[in-house]
Symmetry: C2
Subunit: 341 residues, 2 copies
């Protein structure tokens, strides 16, 4: 499979590492031979229709800051759109940062990939939060696949669990902790009896929270993931505008102390029932969702199989890259099945 | 699909209920039209090659205690082996009680089904704990499928999660709480500061524990599930003889109090690493595995995707029947894929 990789940050590089280290296993076990024919970063692109030398690309990033510095394969200043349009490939992997306001530039990358007949794997929540119903239609229209496992739970296969593990059953509702940063802050407030501001500073120091923590603490990141789940798992045609969002800035030490007295704790819970909501919610410390630190946790309620909770880290380069790999394998298998029928 | 149902207890009847209530949906969404052509219970069998009337069979059980009492379709005293041999069907669903010492009569039922070319779905841990490597070979030899999702976690799709959700990754180790009865007992001892004997009596009163609680409290049930996971997920050719087993009879109130002082609790943990073990183990109360009540929980450690924990009820008629349905759908899809290639 020929792949254009747009974005050469932690996730993109981790994917390259996995492809390098597990080349033989992927070929033998899955018949999967990924060939990364183009990489695009901020400095430009590197293109080799025979498949780029990934070790060399990783070194170039370290030494020169961009793959475009390659003497033989570099295209200094080439834009991602240009690369997606001009390079022949079966799939694009899009791992650029999330922009929750305009969804750009990711949205244009995805549309261009669709238009030029490429399957898309993305870890970018922006385009999905703002336009998933439209993008699903556009993928269908262009007869290509759109996959995005890494957007929810990073390496934790939340979307796959719901889609592949409960066959013949029906998921009635979903609720969960979908953002590790806010969970870390709330856990610290509960355990160390500190204020929101103190816990936020600690999270920023550890690199769990950004300098501008809005996406996390105001609930937008969790809401984006909720939208993705509602579309993918429950076939709801919704965008982030349909989510009632309240973040954790107003959660006081007193609120948490009051909850603790009742054997409860406060978590930022996203839920899909009649409506979609993200809000600080009091839950029992015995609830399987009551996980600490930066963990994510999602509970599915299904008609026959009952309640199931899946817990895992919601972040990490290698973890997210492993989700991208799962998506690529899924697309490969879908193509194979289609060719047979 | 024509199905012989052997065992007409809670799980068998729940499966019939699901087939009745979701008939249209199963046909429409999965093209699945289950036709139960024989039911065997302790009194004999009922057979109708056109598919038994399940409502009538459910009533017969209530009113007469056996489906063999059916005037038109009943075969009083017919044995399961006789039915499996003589009735034409694509699959057998075997939901008779577990016998961990001899695996019988389930083992003979499964072998006979294989020999007569029938796929098998079972919820019976006995044959699997004692002979899973041999049964897998026998199924392959006879060109039929053997599925057993309901044996681990009841409705919670533990086996499916490991097999279908971590594609391209490799599971390195597994650990978990695989028995709800012992988890209930240990949780009660911790929370209410009572002794093992007191907690066991409470569990028996609630129907969580049997009059003879050996299977649960001495760790055999957990060990059987561990064997099933090791074979299915990690391709280890092991039986229950390969598991080091220690139950919870020796766990004292003092042990639990000592653990609590360190922010820990004691759980009966089954683990698959170099060796297979079931033993009372001290874990942090912050560990996602530290679930209370009768819940089950399993943590998978994988090479790239990190640690994932899945939590759910490990028992229940409808829940287990939903796992049987998943297995039947999986077999149906495998047959369809095979016919295409």
């Amino acid at each position: 499979m020929r792949i254009i990789l747009v974005g050469w940050g932690v996730v993109g590089q981790s994917l390259a590492q996995i492809c390098l280290h597990r080349k033989k296993e992927l070929a033998k076990k899955y018949g999967f031979r990924p060939r990364i024919v183009a990489i695009v970063d901020k400095g430009g692109a590197a293109i080799d229709p025979k498949g780029l030398d990934l070790e060399q690309m990783l070194s170039l990033k370290k030494e020169k800051g961009t793959v475009a510095a390659s003497k033989q394969y570099g295209c200094l200043g080439m834009s991602a759109l240009e690369a997606i349009e001009s390079v022949e490939a079966e799939a694009m992997v899009e791992v650029t940062p999330t922009n929750i306001e305009t969804a750009e530039p990711g949205l244009s990358y995805i549309k261009t990939a669709f238009r030029t007949g490429k399957h898309v794997v993305t870890t970018n929540k922006g385009p999905l939060a703002l336009a998933l119903p439209a993008l699903t239609e556009l993928a269908d229209y262009n007869n290509v696949y759109l996959r995005f496992s890494g957007t929810v739970g990073a390496g934790t296969p939340v979307l796959e669990f719901a889609k592949n593990c409960l066959q013949g059953d029906r998921i009635i509702s979903v609720k969960g902790i979908l953002n590790g940063t806010t969970n870390y802050i709330l856990s610290e407030m509960d355990e160390k009896h500190i204020t929101f501001d103190e816990a936020l500073k600690a999270a920023q120091k550890l690199g769990y929270a950004e300098a501008d923590p809005t996406m996390d603490v105001d609930g937008y990141d969790a809401a984006a993931k909720l939208v993705i789940m509602a579309n993918w798992i429950m076939d709801k045609k919704v965008t982030i505008k349909d989510v009632k969002i309240r973040g954790i800035r107003d959660v006081s030490s007193q609120n948490i102390a009051d909850a603790a007295k009742k054997g409860c704790t406060i978590k930022l819970i996203g839920s899909i029932e009649e409506t979609l909501k993200v809000e600080p919610t009091q839950i029992s410390k015995h609830d399987p969702l009551a996980v600490d630190g930066a963990l994510n946790a999602v509970t599915f309620v299904s008609e026959s199989a009952g309640e199931q909770t899946i817990i895992g880290l919601g972040a990490g380069g290698t973890e997210t890259a492993s989700a991208v790999l799962r998506d690529l394998l899924d697309i490969k298998q879908n193509i194979a099945n289609k060719m047979i029928t």
